[in-house]
Symmetry: C2
Subunit: 410 residues, 2 copies
Amino acid sequence: MPDNPQRADGERVLADLNALRAIGTYKTGVHKPTFSEPHKRSLDWLVQKLPDAGLSAAIDGIGNVFGTSAKPGAKLLAGSHLESQNYAGWLDGPLGVVYALEAARVLNTDPAFKGAVEVAAWCDEEGHFGHFLGSRSFVGQVTEADIDAARDRTSGRTMREALGELGLAGRARIKAEPGRHVGYLEAHIEQGDTLESGHLAIGVVTSIVGIWQYRINFVGEQNHAGTTRMAVRKDAGLALAKFCVAIDERFPAACGRRTVWTTGRITLDPGAPSIIPGTAEMLFQIRDDDPAVVARLEDLLRTMAGEVNALERCTVHVERIRIGAPASMNSGFQDAIEAASKALADGRSLRMPSGAGHDAQMLATIMPAAMLFVPSIGGISHHWTENTADADIVTGAQVFVDACRRILSG
Amino acid sequence: MPDNPQRADGERVLADLNALRAIGTYKTGVHKPTFSEPHKRSLDWLVQKLPDAGLSAAIDGIGNVFGTSAKPGAKLLAGSHLESQNYAGWLDGPLGVVYALEAARVLNTDPAFKGAVEVAAWCDEEGHFGHFLGSRSFVGQVTEADIDAARDRTSGRTMREALGELGLAGRARIKAEPGRHVGYLEAHIEQGDTLESGHLAIGVVTSIVGIWQYRINFVGEQNHAGTTRMAVRKDAGLALAKFCVAIDERFPAACGRRTVWTTGRITLDPGAPSIIPGTAEMLFQIRDDDPAVVARLEDLLRTMAGEVNALERCTVHVERIRIGAPASMNSGFQDAIEAASKALADGRSLRMPSGAGHDAQMLATIMPAAMLFVPSIGGISHHWTENTADADIVTGAQVFVDACRRILSG
């Protein structure tokens, strides 16, 4: 029992996070893809821990872990995820699950809140098999046919095979019950350097940005790299490179303050050293929390494509392949996190959008939801060197538990 | 017997080329990778035809077909290759083999030259298993260990397995015999548009250009595409795109009249839509027949890399991975081709380098060698739409046979 029953036990939080890092360790991080053996052991670890917080534990038919309370009336749901990207960091996911567990341990033993915090670990937030399958299942957006079709991007193993191997085949999926929860709270590492560079402890997430994804195709003329004169070439790869550079030059004048854009993949066809590429493709994405900004950038992208088609040797076609609408975080919950930061982190907090996607955006479609960030050292993410200072982890846990208390008291 | 015993029979040449196109047909071209079933049938077709030209036929232990003559004294060797690139044209290779066969048929029955033309079809000029393996074996540059290591780039099948399946395992490889040949003559489609755009019938190849190949690596910092601000990114993919555009802007001022350069492959790592590429690689090549020009361009490339390393956020490293020295064609043979063009093609010939590699560059390392080009419609090559007008094919055959006669008379 900690000295103050309403504060998080920092040592216990760090011990739990290190226990999870010891399962599927890779260098100073972890390699724990969805439904791998170390992922399953991490789910089992959580199932063992939840009764300490006064919760009944179960893994459902899509691999979500729930800690549920018998308390009547509305409860606060808190959680995150336990699987990792391949060969990635130890905190991306587990931090939010352990904070949720800690909040339940602290508040569910407090006579004022007994049993008011429930815990969830959402399966496959990292998208090995799909797109937020665990939290989307809970909010009612995943069909059995979706699960039939899901397949591990790396190994090709189907989700049905994986569920069978883990002994989860045939289990029911737990869905949200209307009125059961007052809302959802999730903590996560920032995955950027805004907090660190501002010497801040807590990010109060205002919204989770939308992701607009584009496939941009260039068509030139495939030909022999030795016999085709420079003057007559239609090199689709060169057209693509020029387009990337033009985006870099022209987007800054039209973007918002925190807009980001990325060319993540480039493919030249046929991709042989002695053949001029006849076609080329780039995967391009824009993220912002303001759809009007993205609309302006998409217009610019299409204007630039029109200029290429009118003036250059190759043609280009811009195809939008995904729209991810931004999700607004509940303003009352944001106030609760900020108040907790004032009380326990010297007010070193900042309201900021989340550039990354999180399960909270799925929960936000059916209930009030909010998120709290802790600093990432060097802003590094999705890499095994990802880290957060122990002191920041402890401060974050204290603010999280206090924010839960304030939300439940509100 | 044609009216003039020393001229090629155009109808016979077209019939032979169409017979070879009927083996492994793909649309109007062929799909005849090295040691595929249609490739082996093409080799067998040639073995059947060679006795008509007074030659003994054999396939050797690396898949080269030879038509050899019992005539004492030096002979002229002529040939090309019978396999194709994947889903490619009908003339790239077979044209030179059929011209060689035709020269042997015409001249070996002429009492003045009886048996003076020998024929070769070199295996794997198109590089499915290696790098000019057939002609390099003949000139003594391929070891048994090289064959042990060779593997089909597409299927992964080893060359040993393929030779075994075709019944060629254990056969001796035929090597060049000093003094047996006065030289080597090869015909090929141009694979560019120089002849067509100049309304010319014959290219007299002066040299086969060298190919310098580079691996250019960019190192930035892999990070999350949603949470990493534009201002702090080190995007290796963007650095690569800028470098491609800079090459396009700066090479023209330093290159030679016929220099060509190509970025054939680009790889971003990890190549995921939501991850800023931490490293990126481009395969880059320069072709020219003047090593001094290439040295100047390589200096420029390294200067540009130095500027990036001094001024930009990512670093770049230029590694030369291949030098292909240019091969000069024999000047007496060039004169013979030009004289034959004057006699039989109204002098519509042009001296020009070959931008593509050919078996002739390997033969040139041990004997006088030369090449003759016929026009490619639209300059198209390494694609099933590759073609040459029938009239140009017939003219080319007549010039080729006459050039052989002039070389043997010289």
